[in-house]
Amino acid sequence: MHWTEYFGPLAEGAWVTVQLTVYSTILGAILAFASGIGKLSSNWAIKAVSVAYIEVFRGTSLLVQLFWLYFALPLAGMALGIDLRLPPVMAGVLALGLNIGAYGAEVVRGAIQSVHKDQHEAARALNFTSRQTLWTITIPQAIPEMMPSFGNLAVQNLKDTALVSLISLGDLTFRAEQIRNFTQDSTTIYSMLLVAYFGMALVLTALMRGLEAYVSRWRMAGS
């Protein structure tokens, strides 16, 4: 097998990695907003659920979360008489999204709290409800604040997708491993793997920068 023939299977794997990254980052962003805002809620039940989620998923390793979802959950389900077997892609996206969401939650919470008190006072003087204040005043100003950290988390997430190869998901790392077993050409294949992840990270970083510039338009205006 000539090294140029590695491209086919690697590209297939890379596509799976891209999908995993995109889906789990989106899931993570939703969870990050929900639990980051939830943690600041005055409703204790919402707050408790948010805090529990954040602490559990930040306090355990991604690999264990992944194994738990893929191997343990079905057994737990069986004991309860429910089918909780997840397809590998689903388990991968869930584990990655839940994990990144817990880290993102702290970013969301911090950014929301960094919005100046003056803004809340102006909102109150104009008689906005606290919900209107959150959605029209606080969050839009907090989002640009979150973007650099979100960019880092997204790249972190991309790199973490390599772990899903351990539940036999055909991502980039899994394909590379297959080729290596077949050809024993470790140097070439791992070098290609390195370059491929690096390239994807560059693209992702550029995308996140673009998104950051988009949500921060008003900051660039004038001054």
Binding site: D118, G222, S223
Partner: protein, 264 residues
């Protein structure tokens, strides 16, 4: 006199151990233009912030348009602490212009002015826009509607701040040192706008300021605050030209000395 629109009845306000307002009695009549002057820390901002419901009280009763602001009447006639619903109802009477403008930096000038009328008062976008355009005309910024606050000068920002507060059609407008954060050459344009509003018969205005000449010009009454109490009050002529109290005289001498020939 008729019923005052604002009434502080033995109002106490503390921050920890510090008693900022000590049984303050203070009344403002409908349509009256009142300036509040006094040394730093005397409680001037606190009075406005209590009225705007940004700060609660620790004793006494504040009444706005005959209704207690920080209290609600329970069915048995006693007063209990106000609910958020009550505060929201009361707040519709009041508007505030902040020293640091407090514009929403992520919204255009137009949206800064239309957002609350649409979301809070339920105006249609079209109505709110029309109202905003009239107000921008009034404050001389008709051509700046699509800019962001970051693109404006301090004087322009404060004029937007005034337009934003007016868009809610308050009966009472509170100004907390509206020109203190401005470069001297920009003070005049803001004072000109406030001067126009002072001609509005129905609008009650409460102005905390260090611009003594301006206070003298537009006020019906000037109150000199000192350590959380009104040390002296009267018409601008009485207070500025012939104060009774030594404290007032000292204060006026000090501020007029430090800012000779201030604008307005």
């Amino acid at each position: 006199m008729t019923d005052p629109i604002i009434k502080f009845d033995k109002v106490v306000k503390r921050f920890g151990d510090l008693t900022v307002l000590n049984k303050l009695d203070f009344e403002v009549q409908r349509g009256e233009k009142v300036s509040i002057i006094g040394p730093s820390g005397s409680g001037k901002s606190t009075v406005l912030r209590i009225l705007m419901t940004l700060e609660g009280i620790d004793g006494g009763v504040v009444t706005v348009d005959g209704e207690p602001l920080w209290h609600e009447k329970a069915p048995d006639g006693t007063l209990k602490p106000a609910s958020e619903t009550h505060l929201r109802k009361m707040r519709t009477q009041l508007g505030m212009v902040f020293q640091q403008f407090n514009l929403f930096p992520h919204m255009t000038v137009l949206r800064n002015i239309t957002e609350a009328p649409v979301k809070v008062l339920g105006l249609s976008k079209k109505e709110a826009r029309q109202r905003a355009e009239e107000l921008l005309e009034l404050v001389g910024l008709a051509d700046q509607a699509q800019k962001y606050p970051g693109q404006l000068s301090g004087g322009q920002k404060q004029r937007v701040g005034i337009a934003r507060a007016l868009a809610m059609r308050p009966n009472i407008l509170l100004f907390d040192e509206p020109t203190s954060a401005l470069d001297p050459e920009l003070v005049g344009e803001v004072l000109n706008v406030i001067r126009k509003l002072a001609d509005e018969h129905d609008l009650t205005m409460l102005l905390v300021t260090h611009e003594m000449r301006f206070a003298k010009e537009i006020s019906d009454r000037v109150c000199f605050f000192d350590r959380g109490r009104i040390r002296e009050e009267g018409t601008p002529e009485e207070l500025f030209t012939d104060p009774n109290e030594d404290r007032t005289r000292e204060f006026l001498a000090a501020v007029l000395d430090e800012a000779p020939g201030t604008t307005g």
